[in-house]
């Protein structure tokens, strides 16, 4: 991977991404998550498993992918849209190097703007409490979950989600000029809706890969992790590699359209 990293492209991408007006949007989902967490911490009784639901399910399937969507489609898609990508592509730099470098920059930015806020929110929330598996969550059956374990699990899960989501969104930004719209539909319909209500869809859900990995640390049934850690890691790796390989192939075939006669 390190041979594919190009520091010049990374520097240009960082300047380009953080210099655009939409950069301030990066922090909005994180801000919402932290404010929401503080509000719940103040208002909700400690006996309910809200940290796992809010920071896990909602955080991984809505807020984190939205941040990754904004960043992942900015690092390459914005340059493709305005045509400035041609200055990178008209050099002997390998297309795999362009894609991997931009993916790494997007991943780091998403970790800063989403995974770290997820950790901060989890530390604010403290430990949750969950009904043990199989009890149905009846009154008086809650099990206390360690705050530090939950925070660690959510942080590691968010880091994993940052990697996988960005591979997907970088690929989408090369595949279509309507990357934001396509990505938004994917997040809202697939990740936020179907994967949480259709159990079979979890095998192809990035948020559930993150929840599966998070649960490996937190051991919290309220995280509603439908996948085991090995499955989550393997599927996450497969999706990441496949998305990046497809992005490289698409970028290698990048065309400038001439006017037809």
């Amino acid at each position: 991977m390190s041979g594919l990293f190009n520091p010049t492209i990374a520097w240009i991408t960082m300047r380009s991404t953080l210099g655009r007006k939409r950069a301030f949007l990066f922090a909005i989902p994180a801000l919402i998550l932290i404010l929401f967490t503080v509000a719940l911490k103040v208002s909700r009784p400690p006996s309910r498993p809200w940290p796992s639901h809010v920071l896990g399910t909602f955080g991984f399937s809505v807020l984190l992918p939205l941040t990754a969507l904004i960043i992942g489609t900015s690092v390459l898609g914005a340059e493709i849209d305005d045509g400035s990508i041609i200055h990178l592509l008209a050099t002997p730099v390998r297309r795999s190097s362009v894609v991997v470098t931009k993916f790494l920059v997007a991943t780091v930015l998403t970790m800063v703007f989403a995974a770290i806020p997820e950790l901060v929110a989890a530390l604010i929330a403290g430990g949750g409490s969950s009904p043990p598996a199989g009890t149905g969550g009846g009154p008086g059956t809650f099990v206390v979950i360690s705050g530090s374990k939950l925070a660690l699990g959510l942080f590691v899960g968010a880091l994993a989600c940052s990697v996988i989501y960005n591979a997907v969104f970088v690929m989408v930004s090369v595949a279509t000029t309507r990357a934001i719209a396509v990505g938004l539909l994917y997040v809202l319909i697939w990740e936020a809706l179907l994967s949480n209500f259709v159990s079979g869809a979890r095998l192809l859900s990035v948020s559930h890969y993150g929840l599966g990995i998070a649960n490996g640390f937190a051991h919290d049934p309220s995280l509603d992790a439908g996948l085991a850690v090995p499955t989550s890691v393997i599927m996450g790796a497969v999706v990441t590699v496949a998305a990046l390989a497809l992005a490289v192939n698409l970028l290698s075939s990048y065309t400038l359209k001439g006017e037809p006669a």
Binding site: N6, T8, I9, W11, I12, R15, S16, G19, D82, G83, S84, I86, H87, L88, L89, A90, T91, P92, V93, R94, R95, S252, S253, Y254, T255, L256, K257, G258, E259, P260, A261
Partner: protein, 312 residues
């Protein structure tokens, strides 16, 4: 160091943009001309490696340089060939958040040049942009952005330089400077291909043209030679002599001369045979004891060549 297109076609669905074009572009400056929609941008994009031909073969062959070994092949999905190609795209999109120096230096780094800073400084100086190099590109005029794009395209000293409408947005002084530069680069053995709709500048800069009309190659070669080959359309000469009326009456008797007009400053003569007229007028003037002061072809401009090709 030669660009070869052999029976190259490119279509979009049912629309044919380029139809069976064969051309060879060697060292020197070559102009690629055509009206809007003729397919010249499509040809430029295919040569630059940003569009595959639907049919036919396109190769660029270049010798070894300090930055890489000899190479030959299609530019499509072949980024290694950009070591010897510089591209100035038509679209006015650059990294506006960078300074001119940062933009050219980063291009040098992407080409893995051993001294990117020195290479960038040299290319910037070549384009007369040193004074503005530390300003952000966002503050540049359109002509300055064109020049910094050319500097970035030249930073690795390529053998082949492709420029799509390079004079867009430049003021007259910048245009002259750019024309001088391209002329020098072409004279130095580089293969320069540029497209432009400013025919007067093409005429001044390039003796060799490739004219594309409706997706087909309408003409190829020296534009003055092309004009002379168009014998079906009369050539127009302005003639000044010691006795214009006598010379005009003699000329009208020649089979190659189709019309003679006496103007306030001399004669305007139309002829269907360029070579025969040039031979005849000298002999006739001598026989009539008329001193020739000026014999000037007035419609040899590229504009007339181009208009004729498009009309036919």
């Amino acid at each position: 160091m030669t660009i070869e297109l052999r029976s190259v076609s490119r279509w979009y669905g049912n629309v044919v943009a380029v139809n069976d074009v064969t051309m060879s572009i060697g060292p020197g400056v070559t102009g690629l001309l055509g009206p809007n929609g003729a397919g010249k941008s499509t040809i430029m994009h295919m040569i630059a490696g940003f569009l595959p031909p639907s049919r036919g073969e396109l190769t660029i062959t270049s010798g070894p340089t300090s930055s890489g070994p000899a190479s030959s092949g299609s530019t499509w999905r072949n980024p290694a060939l950009y070591r010897q190609i510089g591209l100035v795209p038509e679209r006015d999109s650059v990294y506006a958040f960078l300074t001119g120096d940062q933009f050219v230096t980063s291009t040098a780094k992407l080409h893995q040049l051993p001294e990117p800073g020195a290479a960038a400084a040299r290319a910037i100086a070549m384009l007369d942009m040193a004074d503005a190099a530390n300003r952000k590109i966002a503050t540049y005029s359109k002509g300055m952005r064109q020049r910094i794009k050319v500097a970035a395209a030249l930073v690795h000293d390529p053998e082949v330089l492709l420029l799509d409408e390079p004079f867009n947005g430049m003021d007259p002084r910048q245009r002259l400077h750019m024309m001088d530069l391209l002329d020098k680069l072409g004279s130095g053995g580089r293969t320069i291909l540029f497209s432009s709709h400013i025919l007067e500048e093409v005429e001044r800069l390039s003796g060799t043209i490739q004219v594309v009309v409706a997706g087909r190659l309408a003409a190829s070669g020296d534009f003055r030679a092309i004009r002379r080959l168009m014998t079906s359309r009369p050539h127009v000469f302005t003639v000044r002599s010691s006795d214009d009326r006598l010379l005009g009456s003699t000329l009208i008797g020649r089979p190659a001369v189709t019309a003679v007009e006496l103007t306030g400053t001399g004669l305007q003569v139309r002829t269907s045979d360029y070579g025969a007229f040039c031979r005849d007028i000298a002999v006739l003037a001598r026989d009539q004891n008329v001193r020739l002061r000026e014999v000037l072809p007035t419609d040899e401009s590229l504009e007339s060549v181009f208009a004729y090709l498009v009309a036919n």
